[in-house]
Symmetry: C2
């Protein structure tokens, strides 16, 4: 419809998650309007990312260095491993600022249909790391069927090690209103109810 280069650009942009064909066109025109400040810089950044960003051979995190800055940080507790499905889950846990241990990024969930078994998720590698002296493994899986199935499998496999296996608490999200909550969450929150500590600030 437009020039071949422009068509190709729109086609490539439309493959990004979150951009449809229409917004890809808008993005392409925006890029061409800001050729030096956005278009050229984005091209360079993408090429750099393709070369520099690598997967940490220890935990599966993405970083410029291998091992990643979390695995290499001597101030972090190597006796705790938090298992997450994906790198953005790792980022979410990091944002909470409450975890100072190491990670294991599965890179997906077990799925017979998609042919994703324990090998694809590096679970043997996780078991060897845990056997080398980890005290606690926190399963921070999504509360989806796939996430929970993978969590159960991991808990099973980790049963042979000496580590304590924990999982994230289910319950009312902070800021969540009860009448908008789904029944499953409310049920989980009720079952896991805790005695009120009158001295604590959180209810």
């Amino acid at each position: 419809m437009a020039s071949r280069t422009l068509d190709e650009l729109i086609d490539m942009l439309a493959r990004l998650p979150g951009l449809g064909p229409r917004s890809a066109k808008r993005a392409a025109l925006h890029l061409l309007k800001n050729r030096d400040t956005v278009l050229r810089r984005l091209a360079i950044t993408l090429a750099k990312a393709a070369e520099d960003v690598c997967q940490c051979s220890v935990c599966g995190n993405l970083d410029d260095v291998d091992p990643c800055h979390i695995c290499a940080d001597p101030k972090r507790d190597s006796a705790q491993i938090c298992v997450v499905e994906a790198v953005d889950d790792l980022w979410a846990v990091e944002r909470s600022g409450l975890f100072r241990g190491h990670y294991h990024v599965l890179g997906g969930t077990l799925s017979a249909i998609d042919g994703i078994g324990p090998e694809q998720l590096g679970i043997d590698n996780l078991i060897s790391r845990v056997e080398a002296g980890v005290l606690e493994v926190i399963l921070a899986m999504s509360a989806t069927v796939d996430g929970q199935t993978t969590g159960h499998y991991l808990a099973d496999r980790l049963g042979t090690t000496n580590a304590t296996v924990t999982r994230l608490a289910h319950g009312v999200p902070v800021g969540g209103e009860l009448n908008y909550l789904d029944d499953g969450t409310l049920g989980a929150a009720l079952k896991a109810r805790r005695p009120v500590d009158r001295s604590a600030t959180d209810l």
Copy 2:
């Protein structure tokens, strides 16, 4: 939060219209997961677009060649010029398949606040093109205040030429339901009502 390269990539992606910080993260991970098929190819396409795509010196369209393939096409009618605000408006008119003339892409609308005057929109260039023998100028502006103001100014300026100046019809959009239409559109459609041609297939 993550690696510096990755942070930079997310930051650059978040500047694209249509991608927020959250979807930029998702896009970055998607790119890194598909390094050869998407990431590297997108980097190359962007660099190529930065070099190859240029603005047509005649009409302002974006293309790999100057003059653009529309201005250079001998089968198109150079006696008709369709004035549009932006390149994506040109694409929209092209998609309709009903216009076989040439274009003038303003690259914006008149705006005293943003300092966009007739010079920025290449209006002198348009006038000279029209004076060189154009029979009809179609003002295909958006039905917004800015678009219509610019249209009025252009109609005024083009009054000194011999060309007929027309504008797009306002009315009920094809497929539009009356009870969802705004009053302005319905009013315009009523004022511009047309006798029913019993032999024609469109009502």
